[in-house]
């Protein structure tokens, strides 16, 4: 087929947008199968196009540009709608469209009995559109369009159950916190315009490459740090991570797609894309690395004591994103993207499997009420186990290779600080292993803590009313409703799980490092993207032996986490509760998430609200706006009263006043000009 790739690229974002328009405007009237078909079709086609592009571009490492549509064009500054595809874009597109498609399939089953079905798929397609725009963009401004757009889609989808106050608030929180990050991004863009006169990746990066003397320059550091602020907002790093746990109010497929695989990785992608700027600014890199490591261990510590299965996964996501930031911070961009890829597989898998568990239990999300599902939902169990093995770094699974690559590159980065960061990363790996296996044991093993005999209606009660502590049975009753016991999910939900499980297993094999006998294809695939002739190649202080040793250490640490979880949650199930009581203050800090939400509420939100209500509302809203409204009303009423005295109904009095008025007008006309002309 001699299809022109440059035109095909346009279809990747436009097809989901068409799906959004169709489902968004007509979806309410269409039958559900048609809505699903449209959504799936307009997601599958871009995936097919991406596959075709992979094939076409695999050999070359050239950039593919589409023709630019002029957008902003003023003297001295120009921005066009241009899409560019390089190997990094290909990987991101593969994740977005491939995993996105699988999640669409899953959603057909998961959301089958929700109202607003069409709305869900319309928003999902909208998200796909914006995310594609984000990764395809060739300049910062177009990337920002996609950036904001995915934020919008995230808001719409988190607040999908808009009748629930907590969901609506979570959506708002996500959007507002994101906005704070976007502020940093905007400032970075302004500075880029000031210093480079352009927002195009090609021209900015080329300019930086031509000026090796700018290495470590002040303005580059500032720009890079502002970009980090933006990325921290989108990718939920400290201090802007608080929206992600609350975002679990959205339906589980949303959590899987947006808050695990794609949107939250936009920050990492953006840093990787702008790596030239970061390479030229060691300070910014150090900040990124420290931020990533701190976030990783912070989130992991909170995740260890969460009871809601989705919250555990949310904090896990924040933690893993920290790993990706750490990788970018030490210059191992390819490793960061590699982890992004594997994380997309296993985190999406984990979320979807969690959704399957929740669905099986009729809406239950609290792990304290789970247990023993291994025998009752076997496929879910095996697929989730694949995901858990991947994230904890069991050898041969995907996460093992990517995480160890990051840890190895951190350890071998120059300077003393990276060693400390490596240690933090290692401890975090241990914690990750602990809380994931804790989840594993509590959910699938042991005695069931839910009421098996309870009538769990088909497609359960409120799969959508996950209030957390116990299943809320509010299902509408079918005519022939009979209770079902805990059951496995339908095949339409299990198929993506199986596919993702397979990917979680083999997905890491593209990055097998040379030390273990592989060729690390992903590193070489991404080499042309991250090659930076201006930055001197840091001498590699590592060796194959070191890499093997570090890998062995992390496997040991992961096994230790598993062992502790095994002891506390399988061998002797009551241990955790006892220990929690003994270490009361530490436990309290963790379970209250370090009180960060409370700190924000008291020190930021409340003063802001006081200012708004007290000052702005009082003075502007009441005083100026209402006051002027009232004043004009009073004025009109006064005039009307005056007029009423005039309307006596008598024609002759009208005529009298008319004559007087006419005389006045004539007088003005005669003498007015004289008065006017006389200076």
């Amino acid at each position: 087929m001699t299809l022109d790739p440059t035109t095909l690229v346009w279809f990747i974002p436009l097809l989901p947008f068409a799906g959004f328009l169709i489902n968004g405007t007509l979806g309410r009237k269409l039958p559900r199968p048609l809505v699903s078909a449209i959504a799936l079709l307009f997601t599958a086609l871009p995936a097919a196009i991406v596959a075709w592009l992979w094939n076409a571009m695999r050999g070359t490492d050239s950039l593919l540009f589409t023709a630019g549509v002029p957008w902003i064009s003023i003297t001295g500054f120009q921005v066009d709608f241009v899409f560019a595809v390089d190997h990094l874009t290909l990987i991101m597109l593969a994740v977005v469209t491939g995993v996105g498609f699988l999640i669409h399939i899953y959603s057909v089953g998961y959301m089958a009995h929700e109202e607003g079905y069409w709305r869900f798929f319309a928003y999902l397609n909208l998200f796909m559109f914006f995310m594609s725009v984000l990764v395809l963009a060739e300049n910062f401004l177009l990337l920002f369009v996609g950036w904001e757009g995915v934020g919008l889609a995230s808001y719409l989808l988190i607040g999908f159950y808009f009748k629930k106050t907590s969901a609506a608030n979570a959506g708002k929180k996500a959007f507002i916190v994101n906005r704070i990050g976007d502020f940093g991004f905007l400032l970075a863009m302004f500075l880029l315009i000031v210093h480079f006169g352009s927002l195009s990746f090609v021209s900015v990066f080329a300019t930086v490459a031509q000026h090796p003397e700018w290495h470590g320059a002040h303005f580059l550091t500032v720009i890079a740090l502002l970009l980090v602020v933006g990325a921290a907002g989108k990718s939920a790093q400290i201090p802007l991570y608080v929206w992600l746990p609350d975002a679990m109010e959205g339906p589980t497929p949303v959590s899987a797609l947006i808050h695990a695989a794609t949107m939250v990785t936009a920050g990492v992608y953006m840093i990787a894309r702008a790596h030239v700027l970061f390479d030229a600014s060691p300070t910014a890199c150090a900040v990124v690395a420290c931020l990533g490591a701190a976030t990783a261990i912070f989130a992991a510590s909170i995740g260890m004591v969460q009871h809601d299965i989705k919250r555990v996964l949310a904090y896990s996501t924040i933690s893993q994103l920290g790993y990706m930031f750490l990788a970018c911070g030490v210059g191992a961009y390819a490793a960061g993207i590699f982890h992004l890829l594997t994380h997309a597989f296993f985190k999406a898998l984990l979320f979807l499997a969690a959704g399957s568990v929740i669905h099986a239990l009729g809406g239950e999300q609290d792990m304290r009420n789970m247990g023993g599902l291994r025998t009752r939902t076997p496929i879910t169990f095996w697929t989730m186990s694949a995901g858990i093995f991947a994230i904890t770094g069991v050898p041969l699974f995907a996460g093992f290779f990517s995480k160890d690559e990051i840890l190895y590159r951190t350890f071998t980065a120059p300077g003393p600080l990276p060693k400390l960061l490596w240690l933090v990363g290692l401890v975090t790996a241990g914690m990750t292993s602990f809380y994931m296996f804790r989840l594993w044991f509590k959910t699938f093993f042991g005695e069931p803590h839910f009421d098996e005999k309870a009538e769990l209606h088909e497609h359960g009660a409120a799969v959508h009313l996950h209030s957390g502590t116990h299943a809320v049975m509010v299902a509408d009753h079918d005519d022939n409703a009979r209770g079902h016991a805990v059951h496995e999910s339908p095949w339409i939900m299990l198929l993506p799980l199986v596919l993702l499980a397979i990917l979680s297993f083999i997905g890491g094999w593209v990055g097998v490092p040379a030390a273990l006998g592989g060729h690390n294809e992903i590193e070489s695939f991404l080499a042309p993207v991250f090659a930076n002739p201006a930055a001197p190649e840091a001498p590699s202080t590592g060796s194959h032996g070191l890499e093997l040793a570090l890998a062995a250490v992390s496997v040991l640490v992961a096994f230790y986490g598993f062992y502790v979880a095994y002891l506390w949650y399988y061998k002797k199930p009551g241990t955790a509760a006892v220990l929690a009581e003994r270490a009361e203050p530490a436990y309290a800090i963790l379970s209250h998430k370090y009180w960060v939400d409370e700190i924000y509420a008291n020190f930021i939100v409340t003063p802001l609200l006081m200012f708004t209500r007290g000052f702005l509302e009082l003075i502007f809203e009441r005083g100026v706006v209402n006051g002027s409204g009232k004043a004009s009303g009073t004025a009109v009423r006064g005039l009307a009263w005056l007029e009423r005295t005039q309307i006596s109904g008598n024609i002759r009095s009208y005529a009298g006043w008319l004559a007087l008025g006419a005389a006045a007008v004539i007088a003005i006309m005669i003498f007015g000009r004289a008065v006017w002309m006389h200076p």
């Binding site: 006596s648 008598n650 002759r652 009095s653 005529a655 009298g656 006043w657 008319l658 004559a659 007087l660 008025g661 006419a662 005389a663 004539i666 007088a667 005669i670």
Partner: protein
Amino acid sequence: MQLALFIIFGALALGGAVNLLLQHHPIHSALSLVVVMMSLAVLYWSLGAEFLAAAQVIVYSGAIMVLFVFVIMLLNAGEEEHTHGSRAAYTVGIPGAAAIFCLLSFVFLSERDALGSVNIGGSLSNAADNISELSSVLFTKLLLPFEVTSILILVAILGAVVLARKEQ
């Protein structure tokens, strides 16, 4: 000649107007108005507007005033009653009317020289005659307003018929 015409018929017009005010019965007012219109027709003729003079007599006093007289007869209007509905009319209106008169005449008289003077058949004598000059403009440049006025009259007829119809 001009002066004589002006004085005689001007005085006649004024007299008719004053009489209009002083009469109590509307029919007398209507007939006074006819007198005013006739004198104005003569004045028009003396100002070189022969067609308008004819139109004044034929249309205005011949048709419109006849219409007035018919209505007065139809409604059997009698002498005016002596009601005093409004004081504003007298206290405000009369001074207003007087003010208008004073202002206008002040302007006219102070510009008396600039306004020139009237000659019988003076400045329009180069035209073929009044009516052909009038019609040549009406049927070429002002054709549309001309046609529109015919529609206006049609509408007025319809309106009058509808409004005055007896309720069934």
